[in-house]
């Protein structure tokens, strides 16, 4: 990704350590300027030489200009090795952060911690990546279904979605400028995207409902909690007729309570009267037209079967359930820096690479130094 300095992007800033070389050359060149101490019995003669005009004084001779040229050439070579590239004006970069909002991301990062795995991933991302953004860069966030824009992580995504989400299709977004934000590193190979994974310890907790009981995983084995199943409700909001009767039977069969009151956190399905535009379905909610409330002249069995399938499909699982695979430990945090995004594809040119010119300059300066060295 490089480092920005002096209006340029330096692809290999570690090469700057090479600047020690011209400094060492200059220090070595100054050494002979310290006078050598030599014994003589003819000091009286040298004193006469010193007193005579035009016989050369004792002033410190300068470092030969050839040495200065050599140091300048070495400096140019080191800067060339650092890979400088200018930033084309008016060009910005677009980053895409894919966020895994599946249930395992919202499990605790440590067994006795309030911080979930996703929050830990966000902290790691801010530490390793956000500081490298340029002012003109744009950032988009995608969780597999919804998009958001902005430099900061969308606050609304810090809470687990009521309907369990799936992880994004990672393979579709393995490109320069993409960042994978997750709890567990995806199993598929990654080529160009950056990876930010929180890792995490094991997260014991509920994994399934069995009738009125709840099955928990304690880190080693399954534990049946008698009567531990959470209370779950189906709420009818303005829906009646045959459908209401069917919903009551369906709910009873599944251990759900029927509610017609105010919304509650226990609601796993809400049926409401649809507008004239039409009915719809989304996880945890069904909108029903008035005409759909009764089976009319249709076969009652077919009506019941159809609606049972729709109810099962729309019904949310109990809150807080995650399979054992999601609750198992997933190792340490990982940050792998991938490729930076290409410049905008709207015609902006990438910045000019200066390393070739600097290499040429270096060769010229060294040649001049060699030519200028007294033979």
């Amino acid at each position: 990704m490089g480092v920005e300095l002096a209006g340029l992007v330096w692809e290999r800033p570690q090469a700057w350590w090479g600047l020690c070389l011209p400094l060492l050359v200059l220090l070595a060149a100054k050494q002979p300027l310290r006078p050598r101490l030599m014994a003589t019995g003819a000091l009286s003669l040298w004193k006469r030489v010193m007193d005579s005009p035009g016989a050369g004084g004792s002033e410190r001779p300068a470092v030969p200009w050839a040495i200065w040229l050599l140091c300048a050439g070495l400096t140019a070579a080191v800067l060339s090795m650092a890979g400088p590239r200018s930033i084309a004006p008016g060009v910005s970069r677009e980053w895409l952060v894919l966020v895994d909002r599946s249930p395992s991301s919202y499990l605790p990062a440590e067994s006795a911690s309030d911080e979930d795995r996703l929050s830990r991933s966000i902290e790691l991302l801010e530490e390793e990546w956000l500081g490298r953004l340029r002012e003109e860069d744009s950032v988009r966030w995608f969780d597999g279904q919804a998009w958001d824009e902005g430099v900061s992580f969308p606050d609304a995504w810090r809470d687990a979605p009521r309907a369990p989400a799936l992880a994004p299709d990672w393979a579709q977004w393995d490109a320069p400028g993409c960042v994978w934000l997750c709890a567990r590193p995806p199993a598929i190979p990654r080529a160009e995207a950056s990876l930010c994974s929180s890792g995490g310890a094991s997260a014991p907790g509920p994994i399934a409902i069995d009738g009125e009981d709840r099955l928990d995983w304690d880190g080693d084995s399954l534990v049946r909690v008698i009567g531990g199943a959470p209370r779950r409700a189906v709420r009818l909001d303005g829906v009646g007729g045959d459908l209401a009767d069917l919903v009551a039977l369906w709910a009873d069969e599944r251990g759900l309570t029927l509610s017609r009151g105010a919304p509650s956190p226990e609601d796993v399905l809400v049926l409401s009267r649809a507008s004239d535009a039409g009915s719809g379905s989304e996880p945890g909610a069904l909108s029903v037209l008035e005409s759909e409330e009764s089976y009319g002249e249709r076969d009652p069995a077919e009506f019941a079967l159809l609606w049972s399938e729709r109810l099962d499909e729309a019904c949310l699982p109990a809150a807080g359930l995650s399979p054992v695979s999601a609750r198992a430990p997933i190792g340490n945090a990982i940050w792998i820096q991938g490729a930076a995004p290409d410049e905008r594809r709207d015609g902006g040119r990438p910045g000019r690479a200066w390393e070739g010119w600097l290499a040429l300059l270096s060769c010229g300066l060294v040649a001049a130094a060699l030519i200028g060295t007294p033979r």
């Binding site: 014994a39 019995g41 016989a55 001779p61």
Partner: protein, 288 residues
């Protein structure tokens, strides 16, 4: 006192090889001719000379040395070879001040070799040789042969004294009886008139100046902090083309001053790089 370990070449290392070389040199000198007297004017017989033999006449020699009777008999010119009477005293004044530790090759090392060779030479000629170092050490060789005692004395020398040749010259009374006086050092701490004042009638004087290559021909060394190990003074200077040119002028002026003064006082003088073997140094001073 200077810390000797900071000087590049403060010590002396000589062995029996020096004695062998010196004796060979003395023999060659004997065959090739007698010692040069009084500033290189050519030898002539002086009072107290001992006749030791003949050698062929060489063109340009003083005809007063020609053996006319031998010429009449043989029809070929020969000159008489003489040496001073046995019993004359030589004084070798050796500078062992800290500046003699400059090198390599070390000035004191070369000076010790020259001194040792002079001692061998003098002993071979039957002279008594007194070696006096500026550090106070003294050796008096008699009996006609210089050997282990001389080597031990020379190996014990060390370039560490704060005073050099000037201190020796001021104590001329210690070698009042010497008929030949040799000054061996870098001569950088001495004015010619101070040394040449030792010369007098009946005495010959020779001054040997030894400089390390760093002092003789420094080369372009860049920025140097020169350090005087005797006075602990320091001087920072860029040793480049301009300063080298000026240094050469100053050094030449110093050497020329000595040469001219020596010529006026009929003394022998030579200034040598310490890379020069002692044989060449003595040949330059003594002739032959």
């Amino acid at each position: 006192m200077t810390e000797a370990h900071t000087l590049p070449c403060p010590e002396v290392s000589v062995d029996a090889d020096l004695l062998q070389r010196a004796r060979s040199f003395a023999a060659r000198l004997e065959v090739g001719g007698e010692l040069r007297e009084e500033g290189g004017r050519g030898a002539h017989l002086l009072g107290g000379e001992e006749f030791v033999g003949h050698r062929p006449y060489r063109a340009g020699e003083d005809l007063r040395r020609l053996d006319w009777s031998l010429l009449a008999r043989l029809g070929q010119p020969f000159v008489k070879v003489t040496r001073r009477e046995a019993g004359e005293e030589w004084a070798v004044l050796l500078d062992t001040s800290a500046s003699m530790g400059v090198g390599p090759p070390g000035k004191l090392q070369r000076a010790a070799e020259v001194t040792g060779a002079l001692a061998v030479l003098g002993a071979a000629r039957g002279a008594r040789v007194r070696i006096i170092s500026s550090g106070g050490a003294e050796l008096f060789l008699t009996g006609g042969r210089a050997g282990g005692e001389l080597l031990a004395f020379l190996n014990g020398l060390r370039a560490e004294e704060p005073r050099g040749m000037r201190g020796l010259v001021e104590k001329a009374g210690r070698f009042r009886g010497a008929s030949r006086v040799f000054l061996v050092g870098d001569l950088l701490d001495l004015e010619p008139r101070e040394a040449l004042g030792l010369n007098r009638r009946g005495r010959s004087l020779a001054a040997v100046g030894l400089l390390a290559p760093l002092e003789f021909e420094p080369g372009q060394l860049g920025r140097i902090e020169w350090w005087d190990p005797e006075e602990e003074q320091r001087l920072v200077l860029n040793v480049a083309a301009e300063s080298l040119e000026e240094y050469e002028r100053c050094l030449n002026a110093h050497v020329d001053g000595w040469r001219d003064a020596a010529a006026r006082h009929r003394a022998a003088f030579g200034c040598f790089d310490t890379r020069t073997p002692f044989e060449e140094v003595l040949r330059g001073i003594l002739g032959g």
